[in-house]
Structure formats: structure tokens, C-alpha cells
């Protein structure tokens, strides 16, 4: 069952410039595992060193955040479309409040 993973512009340099990648997967976890098995350089920008999806990386099935579905166990069907969407975040160094 091929599903389509849309690759955001900054990460296309790791997928040979492809805008989307088709992978065989029954759920979101499998889709991401297959994607990063094919394109290993993507891994560090999606996962932390201990293998967890980075907290600022969101996965959408169509227009729904998988966090509000069944997370990475969300089942996928033929022709489903997954998007990788960053929560853009940042900030300053925290002030010392010790004194």
C-alpha cells in the first residue's frame, strides 16, 4: 500500500531533491521508518540521538495532526498523504534568576 510522504523544502537536499517519497506502510511509524531507511541523512533532522521523533517535528495525515489520532500507530491506507511540519520555535538564553 504506497503512501506519499511530502518532503519539506529544507529536507529535500537529503532525498535527492524529491518533493515527495512513496513508501509501503501500514501505519505512520512504518512509513517514517521506511523513509529514513531509504534516506539515512534525514534521520538526524527528524529524530533525536536516542531515536525519538524530535519534539518540534509534527506529522500530519492530510490536515490532521497524528498527535490527535493514534500517534505513530495511526493506520494508513493506500494513497494517504503524510506531511512533515516543523513547529518553528526559538528564544533567548534564559536569564540567571539565582541572584
Amino acid at each position: 500500500m504506497p503512501v506519499r510522504v511530502i518532503i519539506p523544502t529544507p529536507l529535500r537536499q537529503y532525498t535527492g531533491r524529491k518533493e515527495f517519497v512513496e513508501v509501503e506502510a501500514k501505519n505512520v511509524a512504518e512509513a517514517l521508518a521506511n523513509l529514513t531507511a531509504q534516506y539515512g541523512d534525514l534521520r538526524r533532522h527528524l529524530y533525536t540521538d536516542d531515536g525519538k521523533l524530535r519534539s518540534f517535528v509534527n506529522i500530519y495525515l492530510g490536515e490532521e495532526d497524528i498527535r490527535y489520532l493514534q500517534k505513530d500507530q495511526t493506520p494508513l491506507h493506500d494513497q494517504d498523504e503524510l506531511s512533515i511540519v516543523p513547529s518553528i520555535a526559538g528564544g533567548t538564553k534564559l536569564r540567571c534568576i539565582c541572584r
Binding site: 519539506p8 523544502t9 529544507p10 529536507l11 537536499q13 541523512d41 538526524r44 533532522h45 519534539s55 518540534f56 509534527n58 500530519y60 490536515e63 495532526d65 506531511s83 511540519v85 516543523p86 513547529s87 518553528i88 520555535a89 526559538g90 528564544g91 533567548t92 538564553k93 534564559l94 536569564r95 534568576i97
Partner: protein
């Protein structure tokens, strides 16, 4: 790569930084990119979602919500990001980067900035000192995620 903007884009970013002081402001840079440069066509100011702490905390939890607030953290709603990106694509534009302010802090990326970044994008930072916008810099994350490299900002005087 080099980031090309009009003077009016730089003014928009600086003014947004001053307007939202002492909170952090944020927004998206839309434009076109080739192998050499990124050229900004539009600056899209957005709401710092850290003002809505419950929703922000559900999306991207902070380690220390007592000390981390909209004054030292910003967050762009991923739904907004999707909406802006889709709208841009329909006009053959792409998200080329983001901007945010550092109230009463230098225009240098923090470790928190680095942990939440992807390569390729331009991350513009404007320092706002006592309400006055000062230095403006742009940064690109290295492939290995170790650090941000400074990016040349070319302001076209149009």
C-alpha cells in the same frame, strides 16, 4: 548562500520586534531560492503562540514553563505554518526562512534556537534593546546540527 531582502522587509521585521517588545515576535519569510541565493518577497508576521501557553505547551512542551514564557520563547503554530505554506505555493513562493526577536538580548542564536531548527532555512534574529530594534542577523544550521553559521544579508535599497 546569501539572503536578499528589500529595505522595507528589514523595516517590517524591526518594527514587529519593537511593537511586540518585551515579548518575542516571530514570522515567516516567503520568497524564491536557487542554488546560490534566497530572495525574500514577503514578510508574514505571525502570532507568537507562547501567548497561548496551554495550547503552546500541548504542542511543544517547555522544560521550565515558570521561566520560559513569551518573553524568551516563541512558537509558530504548525497549522499557521501549513496555511501560509499552502497559500505561498499557490503563488509559486516558498518558505525560505523565519524571523524572531531577542528582547534585551544580542542577535545571536541560542542553544534552544539550534535544537529547534532545520538546515537550509534562514533564521533571522533582531535584537530589541529597551524597545528599540538594533542588530539584525541571519543564520543557517549546519548539516550536522552542531551550530549555526552566519549568513550574509544583502539589503536591496528599493
Amino acid at each position: 548562500m546569501m539572503l536578499k531582502l528589500d529595505q522595507s522587509h528589514l523595516d517590517q521585521i524591526r518594527q514587529h520586534g519593537a511593537r511586540d517588545y518585551p515579548s518575542e515576535c516571530c514570522g515567516i519569510l516567503l520568497g524564491r531560492a536557487d542554488a546560490k541565493d534566497k530572495e525574500v518577497r514577503e514578510v508574514v508576521p505571525l502570532k507568537n503562540l507562547r501567548h497561548d501557553s496551554a495550547r503552546a505547551q500541548a504542542l511543544l512542551p517547555l522544560d521550565d514553563p515558570g521561566r520560559e514564557t513569551e518573553r524568551n520563547r516563541f512558537l509558530i503554530d504548525p497549522m499557521e505554518q501549513l496555511r501560509v505554506e499552502k497559500d505561498a505555493r499557490a503563488r509559486s513562493l516558498d518558505v525560505v526562512g523565519y524571523y524572531h526577536s531577542h528582547p534585551d538580548h544580542p542577535a545571536r542564536p541560542s542553544n534552544y534556537d539550534r535544537e529547534h531548527a532545520w538546515p537550509w532555512y534562514s533564521y533571522v534574529i533582531v535584537s530589541v534593546q529597551k524597545g528599540e530594534p538594533k542588530d539584525l542577523t541571519s543564520w543557517v544550521l549546519t548539516d550536522g546540527r552542531e551550530r549555526f553559521d552566519p549568513e550574509q544579508v544583502d539589503a536591496l535599497n528599493l
